[in-house]
Amino acid sequence: MRVSLDWLKELVDFDWSAEELADRLTMAGLNAWVVPCELPSIEVEITSNRPDWLSVIGIGREVSALARSRLRLPEVPDLELKDGDFELEVEEDCALRYFGLRIDGVEVGPSPDWLQKRLLCCGINPVNNVVDITNYVMLLFGQPLHAFDFDRINGGLLRVRRARKGEKIETIDHKERILSPEDIVIADAVSPVALAGIIGGLSSEITPPLSGQGRGTTRILLESALFPRVPIRRTRQRLGISTEASYRFERGVDPVGVEKACYLAGDMIVRLCGGRIVGAKVYDRYDPSQKRIVSLPFSTVEELTGVKVPVKEQEEILSHLGFKVKRIGKTFDVAVPSFRFDVGIPEDLVEEVLRIYGYDKLPSDLPCIKANSLRGEFSPRERTLREIAQILQARGYFECISFSLISGKQAELLFPGERLLKVSNTISRDYTYLRPSALPGLLSSLRYNASRGVKEVKLYEISQVLSGDTLCKERLELALVSMARDMGSAYAQVRVVLQDLFKGKEKFVPKKDRRFASYAEVLVDGERVGDVGKVRKRVSQEFDLKDPVFFLRLDLEKVLKPLLGSQKRYRPLPNFPAVERDLSMWVDTSRISHQDLVEEMQRRGGEFLKEVRLIDVFRKEGRYSYAYRLRFWAEDRTLTDEEVNRFVGEIMEGLKALGVELRI
C-alpha cells in the first residue's frame, strides 16, 4: 500500500524525510520504500498478520509509536439514522456487521482535485466522486466500502446470502462469473448484485449522467460491512480475482471501523456530491464487550530477549500502538485493540515493544549449548554417506541434483506397472509423479551433457526417493550412471564402484528386464541391496542418448549398515610367506560366471586359501580365458608345497566338475 507523507502528517507529527520514514518503518518490521510521486510518498509491504497496516491510520499509528507522538484520529460525525426505507436480510454467517446507508439526490461527477491527487498518490485511479469517496475512506480506515445504484436494486431489497449453484453475475470488470454455494453474494429480489467483499456487479454500478446509459445514478446505497475471511478467500482464489477489498477482508478488517467508515463516507458524500441521507438498515452481530486481555510482567521482555527496556518506555510504546495498558503490581494488563488479530500471548507484546524499541539494541552473546540429546545420533550415518560419496568422486563421478518429480512419460518408460505417487496440484506435466529412483533425472542430465558435446560422463545422485513398499514412505537411494563410447568401459566404471564398496562381497543375480539389458540384482551378505544394468536402446533413445549407458542403484538404508565403521573388523596379517598358485581356464560365460568360479574355489580351497584374485581375462575364438592367482597362508607356519598342492588339486577337481577346461 502507498501513502503520501502529507496525509500521514494530518494524523501524526513527525519531521522525517520520506527516506528516513521508510527506513524507520522498515527497521520496525513494516518494509517500506520511497516511491516517485507528485507528493513525497512511500510504499509499504505488509506482513500477512498485520491487515491494520492496510490503512493510513494503521501506518500513522506505527509512525506515532516510532516518533512517540500522539495519533490524531479523524473526526467522524455521529449520524442520526432513521429507517432507510429498504429491506435488508442477512443469512447466518454471511456477515458479522452490515451497515446500509441510503442517500438520495446525489450528483455523480468528478471529485475535487485534492481527493483525486490523494488517490493517485496511493496508486488508485479516480473514477467519480462517489466511488472515489468510498476508496478514500477505505484507504483511511482499511474498511472496504461499496456503493450501489439504488434504482438498480430490484424490489428495494438487499439480501446477503450464499450463492445458488450455477447462479451468474457480471462484475464491474465486465466478466461473467459462475457462482457456487460457497460464495457470499449481495442479491436483490432477483439476482446477485455484488460478490460480497470482493467486487461489485455491473448492473448496479454507480454511473454519471450522460454516459450513454440513460440517466445517471441519483440514489445510492452505501455498504459498509464485515464479511467472514475464509469464504472470501476461497471465492477469490477460485474465481481468480484479487481486489483492494478482498485483500483486506481475507486478512481481517477491524470490526469497530465498519461503523466509523460508514458515517465518514456518508458525510463526505453529502458534502461533496450533494444529496441527503434518507436512512439506514443495520445488521450487527458484533459484541464489543469481548476484550482480549494479555498480562505482561515487566520483566518478560528482558527474560525473553536479553534487552532491558525501561518499564515506562514499554508502557509508552504499547499505548502508542493502540493497546490500553494498566499497571497491576509488576505486570501490565494489556487490552488488545479490535484491529489487532495477531496479539494473544505475552510473546506477541514482547515483539511489539522490542521492534519499536529497536532490534538493533539486541546484544550478541553465544549461548552455551551444554547438553544436546541429539548429538551423534545422525553422524555415523552421515559420515558413511560422505565416505561413499568420496569413493564415487575418486572414481570420477560428479554429483547431480535433479528434480524429484518426473513426467508421466518417464514414469511409463522406466517404472511401468509400478504404483507411483502423484502430485495433485502439479505445475507442469513434466513434474507429476514422485520418483521411485533418481535414474530418470540422471538420464536427463546425460542428455543435457551429450547435447553439449560431453559424451563420456559419470554422474551420481543421493536422494530420498519413494519407497516401493508403502506409498507414503521414502528411502535413501544412490543412483549412478556411466556413459562411454563402448559398453566395456561404460560397465567397468560401474563395476568398480561395487568392488570399492563391497570388496568382493557383491553377488549378481541376473534377471530379464524389458527396460534394461545386462541386468542383475546385486546382493550383499545374501540381501538384495540394489540393481545394475544397461539402459536398453529403446529407453535411452527416448533421452536422445546414442552411446551405451550403464547404471547402478543401491538402497542406501540397506547398504549403510554393513559399511558403518563400527561394523569393520581387523583380520590378522600373514607372518609367514604365502604360497601362490596361478590357474587359468577356458570359461563358457553363458553357463558359468566369475562369481561361481570364485565361490567353488573358495569352497574347495581349504582354510588356508585366503585370497582368490582375477589376474587376467582374454578372449580367443569366441571363448573366454580367466586366470586366477590363489594365495594360501597359515598364521603359524610356512605351508609346504604338498599341502598346497592338495588344495589346488581339490580346486581343480571342483572346477572340472563345473565343466571348466583348465589351461595349465
Binding site: 525473553l304 544436546n372 540429546s373 560428479f398 502423484k422 560431453v454
Partner: protein, 345 residues
C-alpha cells in the same frame, strides 16, 4: 697401412662425432657407431691387428697410440651412454597434462550444506534429517500455521494424491524444513540444538530465481534460558565464518507464524562492504535468512511439556547462499547436471 695416417683419421672421425652429436644420441644410433668403430670389423680392431703384426721396435709406440684412440672412443661412448641413462629418469615434458580420469566432485549445493552444517556443529548443534513427504499436521498446524489464513500463501504446497490421514491430515511435499522442529520435539527430550538440511518443494514456476524444488537448512535450539539475543550471536558467528569475518548483521522485525518475536536477517553486503552495489540493490544489505524465538504453540509439541523452556529457530535457503557467494546468476544451473558447471566447484 700408414698407421699414423690411420690414427689421425680416427682422431678426426672422433672429433666429427663430437661436433655432430653435442648432446644425447638415441641408443640405437650410439650402438651403430660403437659397432662401426669398436666392433670386430671396425678400424680399431684392425689397428690392433696391425699392432700385433708390427715390428717390435714400433709396437710399443704403436700400441700406445692404438690404446689411446680406443680409450677415447670408449670414453666418448660411455659418456653418451651415461647421458642416455640419466635421460631415462627424466620426464621429457613435465607440463604435459595426464590422460587419467578426472576426480568427480560433490555438487556445490552439497558442499555448501556440508560447510554450513559444520559451522553450526562447531557451535554445538547436531545434524538431523527427515522425510520430504510430510503431512499437514507437521508442515502447518503444529507450526501454528492456520490453513485458512493468507499467511499460508507464502507456503504454497504440493499435495499428494493420497487419502488424508484422520489425525495428521493430507499428505504433501514439505514446503520447508521446519516440520522437523515438531518431529524432533516428539522424539527427543530437550535440551537439543539441531540443524536439518534438505530438499523442500513449492509449486513455483521455474525461472532464473525460482525453482519448485530447492534446499533449506533449519536450525533450532530448545533449552532453559535461551534468549532472542543468542540467536543474533549464533547467526552473526555463522555469517562471519561463511561469508567474511568483517560482515555485519542486521535484524529486522518480521512475521513468521512459528516464531515470536521474529526477525529477518540481513548481512552487510560483502561485495561493496555496505556502500551499495547491484548485488545488494544499492542498500548495502542482503537478506539472508529468517529467524525468531520458537512460538509457544510450537513448543507445546514437546510431549513432556514446555514449562520453563524457550527456543530459537532459523531457516535459510541454500541455493540463495550459494548464488550469493559464488556469483551464480541462474538457479536452474544447479539442477541440469551440466558437468561443465559441476566441475567448477
Amino acid at each position: 697401412m700408414d698407421w699414423r695416417e690411420e690414427v689421425k683419421r680416427l682422431e678426426k672421425a672422433l672429433e666429427e662425432l663430437r661436433s655432430r652429436y653435442p648432446a644425447i644420441i638415441p641408443s640405437g644410433e650410439l650402438e651403430k657407431i660403437r659397432t662401426e668403430f669398436l666392433g670386430k670389423k671396425g678400424p680399431i680392431k684392425a689397428l690392433f691387428d696391425f699392432v700385433k703384426k708390427a715390428p717390435a721396435e714400433e709396437r710399443r709406440e704403436l700400441g700406445q697410440f692404438a690404446n689411446k684412440i680406443k680409450r677415447a672412443f670408449e670414453e666418448w661412448i660411455s659418456e653418451k651412454r651415461n647421458l642416455l641413462q640419466e635421460a631415462e629418469e627424466e620426464i621429457p615434458d613435465l607440463s604435459l597434462p595426464a590422460f587419467l580420469p578426472d576426480l568427480g566432485r560433490p555438487h556445490i549445493i552439497t558442499q555448501t550444506i556440508e560447510e554450513i552444517v559444520s559451522i553450526f556443529e562447531e557451535l554445538g548443534f547436531a545434524l538431523a534429517t527427515g522425510p520430504e513427504i510430510e503431512q499437514e499436521f507437521y508442515n502447518f498446524s503444529a507450526l501454528n500455521i492456520d490453513i485458512t489464513h493468507p499467511s499460508r500463501d507464502a507456503f504454497d504446497t504440493f499435495y499428494l494424491d493420497l487419502p488424508a490421514d484422520k489425525e495428521k491430515g493430507r499428505y504433501l511435499l514439505r514446503s520447508h524444513t521446519s516440520p522437523m522442529q515438531v518431529r524432533i520435539m516428539e522424539a527427543y527430550e530437550p535440551p537439543f540444538a539441531v540443524v536439518v538440511p534438505g530438499r523442500v518443494y513449492r509449486p513455483d514456476a521455474v525461472d532464473s530465481s525460482h525453482s519448485f524444488m530447492f534446499h533449506q537448512i533449519e536450525g533450532f535450539a530448545v533449552d532453559r534460558g535461551i534468549k532472542f539475543y543468542h540467536l543474533k550471536a549464533v547467526l552473526w558467528e555463522f555469517a562471519r565464518r561463511f561469508f567474511d569475518r568483517s560482515v555485519e548483521l542486521r535484524f529486522r522485525p518480521h512475521y513468521f507464524p512459528f516464531t515470536e518475536p521474529s526477525a529477518e536477517v540481513d548481512v552487510s553486503c560483502m561485495f561493496c562492504k555496505g556502500k551499495g552495489c547491484s548485488v545488494c540493490k544499492g542498500t548495502g544489505w542482503i537478506e539472508v535468512l529468517g529467524c525468531g524465538m520458537i512460538h509457544p504453540k510450537v513448543l507445546a509439541n514437546i510431549p513432556s511439556g514446555s514449562e520453563g523452556l524457550t527456543g530459537i529457530a532459523f531457516g535459510l535457503g541454500v541455493e540463495r547462499m550459494c548464488m550469493l557467494r559464488y556469483g551464480i546468476p541462474d538457479i536452474r544451473l544447479f539442477y541440469t547436471g551440466d558437468v561443465r558447471f559441476l566441475r567448477q566447484f
